[in-house]
Structures are given as C-alpha cells and as structure tokens.
Subunit: 117 residues, 2 copies
DNA sequence: GATGTCACTTGCAAAACGCAACTAACACTT
DNA sequence: AAGTGTTAGTTGCGTTTTGCAAGTGACATC
C-alpha cells in the first residue's frame, strides 16, 4: 500500500486501521493459532476476511505461518517479535475502551499452551 | 452501530477502527480546530469523509462543535475530555509506528493557541 | 457586481465488506 | 470402499464504504 504520509500514526493505520486486524492480533496474543480458533472469536469474522487478514499479517511480517507437525495440512499462525510488540498498543486500546465505553469487559481467556508454542 | 461483542478492543474499533478518525483526533490534539485546518493535513482527506468523521466524533461525544464568535458560519471542533483521553492511545500508536515502521517521523507541529482554545 | 474563501453536499465509479455456498484435503466410521 | 465430518480456505454476489471531482450556499473582499 502507498503511504499517505510519513506520520507514524498514519502509517500504522495503513497497516492496522480496520475493524478486524487488531482483533486477530488480540487472539494471537491470547494464544490462539489456527484458522478455526480465530473464526471462533465472539465477533464472528467472515472466513474470507479472516483469510485476507491472516495473509496480510504474514505479508507485513507481524505473523508467520508454520505447518503444525502433528496435523497434516494445518497451519499455525503465530506472532513474530514485531507482532508481539503490538501488545502495548493493544493494551492502550483495551484500557481506553474499558474506561470510556459502557458495557465492555474482558471475557476472553488465554489458551493453554500447546506443543510448539 | 451494533456492538460486535463486549470486548473493549472490539468496541473501541467500532468507534475508531478506520483509516481516518484517529488522524482527525491527532490534528485536534495538535490544536487544529476548523474544517480547513483538518483538510490541510498531509494525508489529503476527502472533504466528504472529513465531514462524516467530524459528525461521528461529535455524535460519539469525543468532540464538540461550537461557532467561532468572530467568524460567522464557521465552527470550531474541539475534543471533549473523553476525546482528550485518547492521547495515551494515540501515543502508543505513534510510538509503535516510529519503532517498527521505516521512514516514519513526526513532522506536524502543534498550532499556536488562539482565542478561546 | 464579480471574485474568492470556507464548509460542506452530491454524483458516480472503485474498493472493501458480509453472507452463503462451494471446494479440496485429509481423517474417521461403517 | 463408500460415506460422513472437519479444517481451511475460495468464489459469487449484493451491500456498504471510500475516493475523486464537481457543485452549492453563505458570507467577505475587491
């Protein structure tokens, strides 16, 4: 995508500024790894959008896709270090929402670790 | 808009999750107030989008619109306290961009205060 | 009276989104 | 071997949102 300006806010929004990308990153931070797990989030993302967002995250170096060894034709999507560095940003978003938007609460739980994570 | 879930991240994205809203808030934090000033940002927002985003910010209580006393038919858009509380979130976005995206830098300057601001 | 500025609105084409249906690859059951 | 189920998508298509250019109305200035 072409940059709109050199502003770090504008450039970050070029990458993450939509309604779904950060939610996928949120789920990755909570330990979710497979297509099915992301699709099971309470927001009900459409599968074509999810597919697109996962590909973009990989293309931009925020996540990487690796085959799950024990299950054939299944891939795990995991955050790279660059992707993990979004934790603070997401915390800020979450904190602002909790403080300023009524009826928001944290309900999603981290997933227990699995082999290879 | 209907909430997608009770997650504070999802709800915040319902409000701010697009490519333009946070840039307008950024400009407001830098002291910009009028339609023309927002339209002059380096990202070249289209006027119909700008008009829509200003109305949404007012509707959601993040900004308020007041007539400029000295200039007829001109309005100033200013952040409410709720809107100003986005400063930390925007700082996180900016910090992440500066650290992780090449060729980003802070170039925009705060505007000198004017009467009534 | 003509021109310019500001804050929009309108029209229209292009892109993104949302939903449902479909497919390919493999596993599991009978 | 055939049928069923699960996973991870893709495809089609109608709706919504965006982007761009042009137009409008109110006022100010020349």
């Amino acid at each position: 995508m072409n940059k709109r300006s050199c502003c770090p806010i504008a450039c970050t929004l070029d990458l993450l500024g939509d309604k779904w990308t950060l939610l996928v990153v949120r789920d990755m931070l909570l330990g979710r790894q497979t297509f099915k797990e992301f699709a099971a989030a309470p927001e009900k993302i459409a599968t074509n959008i999810l597919s697109d967002r996962l590909n973009r995250l990989v293309a931009s170096g925020l996540a990487e896709k690796t085959p799950l060894p024990d299950q054939p034709n299944r891939d795990a999507y995991r955050l790279t270090d660059k992707g993990k560095s979004l934790r603070k940003l997401i915390k800020s978003v979450s904190d602002w929402g909790l403080k300023n938007l009524p009826e928001t609460e944290i309900r999603m739980k981290p997933i227990k670790k699995r082999r290879g994570s």
